[in-house]
């Protein structure tokens, strides 16, 4: 009895399924789906994207490879520095230079920048331990020569003050994340970075003022001369021997021009970073951050050498920038040509014999 009922039910369901399948085929054949589509038709102002396309989107990439397609899409090869500089944003749909800029900044500049100043300090310490302070051979004579006037000294220390503030705040901005955050915490780094950014932006324009002032006050006497070649060949006398020089030696002149030229780059890039709307291409700003950071590390590194020679490294040097005067024996030893020029006496002959 039960089997009879099950068999009957199966037969009924099979007939119903067959019927529904036939109905679906009939509906499809007579365009019932069109009726369904019309019931949810698009608004009157809609655009039918299928209009005009006969064969569908086959061979969309044409004969280009995937890499060529995406390279063109993003507007040039981001690994090509020339293209990075020359490519115009109008031609690009998508730029990936930001990713490469970020990698350069994170993986190279932030990772290694701090080692350059530290390396210079280590070299100076090593030199000082081996050679010691460079003494005035004849000792202080007690007689002095005017070397820098009051305006030169004020401009020098004005630049030194502004540079110190910019250097400290700049290093916190650049290296805070890898050097401060892991040890003092992200909150401390955030506070210091916020403060440094405000201070850096505030004192940046004063650096330009200081740069112009220093250039005007010190350019005279800082042009390179043939006698500077002797200074180079004798390594500045740092490893023995006397080196003749005029008012400024090759090292001082190089430092002056380094400050001026790199300072111009720092000023230009700093202005772009301070007023980013001056350019419409983001790559100028990316390039500016790289040049700004690189220039800063270069100046800070060499600055340690300048500070060393001006203070602990050479006896009598600091007087020139604090008092404006230097001892005559210091002048004879380190700037003999200048000594002869301003005194009219020979630097090699003893007092009273000339």
């Amino acid at each position: 009895m039960q089997n009879t009922l099950l068999t009957s039910a199966r037969t009924s369901v099979g007939k119903l399924g067959t019927g529904l399948a036939l109905l679906l085929v009939l509906l499809m054949l007579f365009g019932a789906t069109e009726t369904y589509a019309q019931s949810v038709r698009a608004p009157g102002n809609a655009v039918n994207l299928d209009d005009g396309i006969e064969d569908g989107p086959s061979n969309a990439l044409g004969d280009d490879s995937q890499s060529d397609f995406w390279r063109n899409f993003r507007g040039g090869d981001p690994n090509d520095i020339k293209q990075m500089l020359e490519a115009r944003p109008e031609g690009a749909v998508l730029t990936t230079t930001g990713q490469h800029w970020r990698e350069l900044r994170e993986n190279y500049i932030r990772k290694y920048a701090g080692w350059f100043p530290l390396g210079v300090i280590a070299l100076l310490l090593l030199y000082h331990l081996i050679k010691g302070k460079m003494r005035i051979k004849g000792g202080f004579s007690g007689k002095t020569l005017p070397r820098f006037n009051i305006n030169q000294r004020v401009s020098h220390w004005f630049m030194a003050s502004v540079f110190t503030i910019l250097g400290v705040t700049g290093l916190i901005i650049l290296l805070g994340r890898p050097l401060i955050a892991p040890y003092l915490g992200k909150e401390v780094n955030s506070v210091l970075t916020s403060a440094s950014m405000q201070g850096h932006n505030l004192f940046g324009p004063l650096f330009i003022v200081a740069l112009v002032w220093m250039f005007i006050k010190f350019v005279r006497g800082n042009f390179f001369q043939w006698v500077d070649l002797k200074w180079i060949f004798k390594l500045g006398g740092f490893f023995g021997g006397h080196v003749s020089s005029s008012q400024f030696n090759f090292g001082e002149k190089s430092w002056f021009w380094l400050v001026i030229l790199v300072g111009i780059v720092m000023s230009g890039t700093g202005i772009l970073l301070l007023f980013p709307w001056l350019v419409d291409d983001l790559r100028w700003l990316q390039l500016s951050t790289i040049l700004h950071a690189g220039g800063a590390i270069l100046l800070i590194s060499v600055l340690f050498g300048h500070i060393y020679v001006g203070t602990a490294g050479m006896e009598g040097s600091i007087d020139s920038m604090l008092k404006g005067e230097v001892d005559e024996n210091w002048a004879k030893e380190h700037h003999d040509l200048w000594y002869e020029e301003v005194t009219g006496k020979s630097a090699t002959e003893e007092e009273g014999t000339s």
Binding site: I150, N151, R153, V154, W157, F158, S161, V162, S190, V191, S194, A195, S196, M197, Q198, G199, N201, L202, F203, P205, L206, V209, M321, L322, K323, G324
Partner: protein, 214 residues
Amino acid sequence: MTFLQFVEGPLFYVAAAIFVVGVVYRLIGILRLGGERDLARPNGSATGGAILTVLRHFVPRRTFWRGSSFHFVAGYAFHLGLFVLLLLAAPHVAFLQERVLGFGWPVLPHWAFILTAEVAFAGLIMLWVRRFVDPVQKLISTSGDYAATILTFLVMLTGCLALQESHVALRATHMVFVDIWLIYFPFSRLIHTFTFFFSRAQTGATYGRRGAKL
């Protein structure tokens, strides 16, 4: 009470009270010093001499221009900059309105604030540098001069570092230096903010009474 609330509240009010009482005490002390009565017949007006000297000394005489141009430029850059920042910076006006006066006034736009701060900082740094590289000025400078300069610099610097107003710690640091500055003010070289008027007036009155050409 947070640390910021403390330095902006009780400590600030105590510092401000010490500032006001201290300045008044110092000025009354100077006035009470008096002077010996001049029995000579006056050849001119002491009051006129005093007023004229107070005003004329704001600009150096032509004879002294060459030697004092640096101090004229740097001095005005710093002092005018500082007063503009003190009285017209938006956070200062908001603070005074909320905590002290109950009313405010128009403030500097942000760009003008930055420009004024740069002028003030340039002036202050130049004056400070000159103090230790000029042999004469170095000779007459005391530790009090350097302390006043450095403290004022730190007040200005911490204020500018807190400009983003995104960290309580920076605002609190600025307020700590402001409070110290207010307490230190009456008993230091900073009192010249008020006493310059007395010294000029005294000199002007003396020479004005004698009929000297001022």
